[in-house]
């Protein structure tokens, strides 16, 4: 990519959000709508409300729940996805259950988690993990099942051990797909963190947003939503950085002429 292009890309990347933010400021400023407060109000609420002791009392607990749920789900989903992707039999046997659980609305499951897992962090983490599981699982299955047959034949001919087939062929080949799932799941993790803090929580970003909403403290609610955006964005950037390191080969191999 040429130098001029890089500048254009950077300008676009920063420019479009700025345009949107300015557009909101111009739109919301003079309206004085209770539910859509001026940008300045939201930002100063954000500044005062979130960048102080709430970092330790609410942001960190939420981050912990999000990452723990996401991490748990990812490990489990990749493992299960490998098994199901490699074995048609296992895939068929579990398909109805997977599809059933995929469709259960998490708020409807909240009561069950309270009943079985209680009201602590563990229940929240499990709920987050449950929802994050499926995008990674489906992508892992798709990635594994879609491996080029010639690669699999190559591995068979050269007597590659099962372990190496798994770790050095199947996983790398499925990684582009797995990362697609991880990206979707990471955002779902943040979303589920908020939903899980809807119930039986005493702290957290989601909890604070619900409380702000309940107290009709609308600027705080929006400030919390902005924080969610920032948290989600930050987490995603970390994931993208990991991905672009792990998938170096893939970008080169697929440097598509789009």
């Amino acid at each position: 990519m040429k130098r001029a292009n890089r500048l254009v890309l950077l300008a676009l990347e920063l420019g479009t959000p700025i345009v949107l933010v300015v557009a909101y400021a111009v739109w919301a400023g003079p309206r004085a709508d209770f539910f859509f407060p001026p940008l300045g109000t939201i930002l100063s609420t954000f500044w005062d409300g979130w960048l102080g002791e709430k970092i330790a009392s609410d942001i960190l607990p939420s981050l912990w729940r999000t990452l723990a749920g996401f991490g748990l789900a990812s490990v489990f989903a990749v493992g299960l996805g490998l098994v199901l992707g490699l074995s048609r039999v296992a895939r068929i046997a579990t398909a109805p259950l997977v599809e059933f659980f995929r469709a259960l609305p998490p708020p409807a499951l909240l009561p069950l988690t309270i009943l079985v897992l209680g009201v602590g962090d563990f229940a929240k983490i499990m709920l987050i993990a449950l929802v994050c599981l499926f995008p990674v699982l489906l992508n892992t299955i798709a990635g594994v099942a879609g491996i080029d047959p010639t690669l699999k034949d190559t591995a068979r001919v050269y007597q590659i051990s099962r372990r190496d087939v798994l770790l050095r062929i199947v996983i790398p080949a499925a990684l582009p797909s797995i990362f697609a799932g991880l990206r979707t799941s990471l955002s779902l993790a943040v979303i589920m963190m908020v939903i899980s803090e809807f119930v039986a929580a005493t702290n957290g970003i989601g909890f604070s947003i619900w409380q702000a909403k309940r107290l009709f403290d609308i600027p705080s609610m929006w400030a919390g939503i902005i924080l969610l955006g920032i948290v989600g964005y930050g987490l995603n950037m970390v994931l993208i950085a990991i991905e672009s390191y792990v998938l170096r080969w893939h970008r080169g191999a697929r440097a598509a002429a789009l």
């Binding site: 254009v8 890309l9 950077l10 676009l12 990347e13 420019g15 479009t16 949107l20 539910f35 859509f36 068929i92 046997a93 398909a95 109805p96 259950l97 599809e99 059933f100 659980f101 469709a103 259960l104 609305p105 708020p107 409807a108 009561p111 069950l112 009943l115 499926f134 489906l138 992508n139 798709a142 099942a145 879609g146 080029d148 047959p149 582009p176 797909s177 697609a180 990206r183 979707t184 955002s187 779902l188 943040v190 979303i191 908020v194 939903i195 989601g206 947003i209 609610m221 939503i225 969610l228 955006g229 948290v231 989600g232 987490l235 995603n236 893939h250 440097a255 598509a256 002429a257 789009l258």
Partner: protein
């Protein structure tokens, strides 16, 4: 097929047992058998079928909107670094915002009605479709695209007739994830906002302290998702007959 039945029955049996021997309290979590019987009882009620219908069509519209927008924008973002850069920050920022947190804003702007349910469900289902489409576009075989380009195939056609089919395995997964997310959000909205549908019946049953009915309806929403997703899997296998994961070499 018998395997699928065996797997499912084994699981259901396990849960039934867990409830029957009291690990799960039956008063708060009915045994699967009870749920099923209660659900069959619901089949007699026109209210149930109306609710099911409401849930289904709002799901269908949300998913259609999410799929069209997600695939369209995903292709644009996957194909052009400029579009990608212009939208990336916004996408990454908006994506983790839970639709349920936007409910007050949606009520204000759209109201407590089907449209708000559709907007939120489409909003939530849009992201998986978008992300999967972008990843699919990034995994397109470059030689195939170059081929189309060398034959003077126009950009639009290159994207829709070459890149799109090649990205289809990813997109199909995206739509399957999106389909479940849309259903989840539709039912959640019905529970949380009280728009007519299965979720509203769950809400009412819960408020009326009727655990059996509440779980029967939750079971119904899971079964619905199972049915819909199975349909998708079939469609996917038909569309992707050419892909290594679906090719059948009949020896």
């Amino acid at each position: 097929m018998w395997l699928a039945w065996a797997g499912t029955l084994a699981f259901v049996g396990l849960i039934e047992l867990t409830v029957r021997i009291g690990i799960l309290p039956e008063r708060f979590f009915p045994a699967p058998g009870t749920m099923a019987v209660t659900l069959v009882g619901q089949f007699a009620s026109s209210v149930f079928w109306m609710a099911l219908w409401n849930t289904l069509w709002t799901w269908a519209i949300s998913l259609a909107v999410a799929a069209v927008l997600g695939v369209g924008l995903g292709i644009a973002m996957g194909a052009s670094r400029y579009v990608y850069s212009a939208l990336r920050l916004i996408v990454e920022f908006l994506r983790p915002i839970p639709s349920v947190a936007l409910i007050p804003a949606i009520i204000l702007v759209i109201g407590v009605n089907f449209e708000s349910k559709i907007v939120l469900a489409a909003f939530a289902a849009f992201w998986p479709v978008l992300i999967q489409t972008i990843y699919g576009m990034h995994d397109v075989e470059p030689v195939a695209l170059d081929t189309a380009r060398s034959f003077g195939v126009g950009r639009i056609e290159r994207l829709t007739r070459v890149a799109l089919p090649l990205a289809l395995p990813y997109i199909a997964t995206g739509i399957r994830i999106g389909s479940a997310v849309a259903l989840i959000i539709v039912v959640t909205m019905e529970i949380v906002v009280g728009v007519p549908g299965l979720g509203e019946l769950i809400l009412i049953a819960r408020q009326g302290a009727n655990v059996e009915v509440a779980y029967a309806l939750i079971l119904a929403s899971g079964l619905l998702g199972w049915g819909l997703n199975t349909g998708f899997a079939r469609l996917e296998a038909r569309l992707l007959f050419w892909h290594p994961s679906f090719r059948s070499v009949t020896p």
